[in-house]
């Protein structure tokens, strides 16, 4: 008992130092932290344990005011609609590309690869972390850096893959950057997350760039992490302050990042490099080392 008390200070110092070390380590390693991946395997059960009753309650509530078959029909229709809307997004992008007379049809023709619907786990993450937890993981063949869409646009990318769950880094997280282009004229930029507003903003855009409020932004496909042509957001306003080197351009995300429900995982076909290991699901590290982040 007494030794316990007298060791408490030393023990606390050790634990504080250890947690500081862990924080620096995690910050430097980011999503490649194997320790986190290792720890999250047994803890995934807790996440399901919280998520299932919450979703169960929602389901019971919907059964109470609708017939069973209507419910199932509704479910399947929603799934179909999500897939169709994603295709419609592609069509809008191809149209604009045609209009610009760019020879990009070659690359956009093979974007529609394999897709998979994933559900969000009904759990809250840390309020400072803009991430989602999905009910898909290794066993479904997810890989790090994989694009995630919803019916309205780009949601983010897969940040960490565990056997049964995976985490998605949302486009409005400050750590996220998406190469985009303006649909109207093809001006390119990078859209990064903005912690203060919860939206996105374009960085390093010259004052003279031809970007107007209301311009629609789509993924440009540069960087090869995201397939080209998916909606990212809409330009809110363009603030050309002559005192600053670059224009300040906030962007409203197209995807509904704060809604629960389903998202779409995409396996874009990459003709220029063999991408088979991504689809096997066993080799998760290969695409990570191959893809520029």
């Amino acid at each position: 008992m007494f030794t316990r008390e007298s060791h408490a200070i030393a023990r606390t110092f050790f634990l504080v130092a250890l947690s500081l070390f862990l924080m620096v380590f995690d910050w430097r390693m980011g999503a490649q932290n194997q320790l986190r991946a290792f720890l999250s395997v047994p803890l995934a059960g807790i996440q399901y344990l919280v998520s299932e009753p919450v979703q169960g309650v929602k389901k019971v509530a919907s059964v109470l005011h609708s017939y069973q078959h209507l419910l199932m029909e509704n479910e399947s229709l929603k799934t179909d609609q999500l897939k169709l809307q994603a295709k419609v997004q592609r069509l809008a992008a191809i149209e604009s590309e045609n209009r610009a007379l760019r020879a990009m049809l070659r690359s956009s023709g093979n974007v529609q690869g394999r897709v998979l619907i994933a559900h969000l786990l009904a759990i809250d993450s840390d309020p400072f972390v803009r991430q989602l937890t999905l009910n898909r993981g290794h066993r479904d063949g997810l890989y790090r850096g994989q694009p995630v869409l919803d019916a309205w646009g780009l949601v983010g990318q897969v940040m960490a893959v565990n056997p049964f769950t995976s985490h998605v880094l949302l486009v409005n997280d400050p750590r996220s950057g998406v190469p985009v282009q303006v649909v109207r004229n093809g001006v390119r930029a990078i859209a990064v997350g903005d912690a203060a507003t919860g939206g996105l903003r374009l960085v390093n855009v010259p004052q003279t760039a031809d970007i107007l409020p209301g311009d629609q932004l789509i993924t440009s496909g540069l960087g090869e992490n995201f397939p080209p042509g998916y909606p990212v957001g809409r330009v809110q306003e363009v603030d050309r302050n002559p005192g600053l080197q670059f224009a300040t351009i906030p962007v409203t995300p197209a995807a509904r990042l704060d809604r629960g429900g389903q998202v779409l995982l995409v396996w874009p076909d990459r003709p220029e490099q063999p991408s088979q290991p991504q689809q096997t699901g066993s080799a998760t590290e290969n695409p990570v080392s191959g893809a520029p982040s």
Binding site: A8, T12, L20, I123, P127, A195
Partner: protein, 165 residues
């Protein structure tokens, strides 16, 4: 005193169970408007065990619980571990006095502890460049204070009246 404590001392399983429950309460989805009102469940449960049964919970347990919370909520690994270790240490220093406080006075102590906990998280987030933008962030300590008497009574009753798990 020691004997009476020992006869109704909890099992480690029970401590673990309450910590897991606290983690789950932290994960339960809340409406976006109420997100800052979420009380520091894990810290409250830890305070109870440290004050009442220091043989079963201390800074080590607080550290591990924080690590678990970090993995579950996706925050920086070690962030909550640090933020729980230091209040756990503080409450260990004063636990004999704290134990015999009336509940309302204890609640004020919990308010101070949760503020320490939030201050550490605030500093870490500040270092990361994303401090909370709203001052509603600090409301969590108030909800924790208001809930403390209930948490204490529930844990204490469960602890006394039901046999070992």
């Amino acid at each position: 005193m020691t004997d009476s404590v020992r006869t109704r001392s909890p099992s480690r399983k029970r401590v673990l169970l309450t910590l897991l429950l606290a983690c789950m309460l932290t994960l339960v989805p809340m409406p976006l408007k109420l997100i800052w009102l979420r009380p520091a469940w894990l810290l409250m449960v830890l305070v109870y065990w440290i004050v009442m049964f220091p043989r079963f919970a201390g800074v080590g347990v607080a550290f591990l619980a924080g690590l678990m919370l970090d993995v579950l909520t996706g925050s920086l690994l070690g962030e909550h571990a640090l933020a729980l270790t230091i209040p756990a240490f503080l409450i260990m220093r004063v636990r004999m006095r704290f134990r015999f406080f009336p509940l309302l006075q204890q609640a004020l102590g919990v308010l101070a502890l949760v503020l320490v906990y939030q201050l550490i998280l605030f500093c870490v987030q500040g270092f990361l460049g994303q401090p909370p933008v709203t001052s509603a962030y600090w409301l969590s300590s108030v909800t924790s204070m208001l809930l403390w008497p209930w948490v204490f009574i529930v844990l204490d009753r469960w602890q006394r009246h039901i046999g070992p798990v």
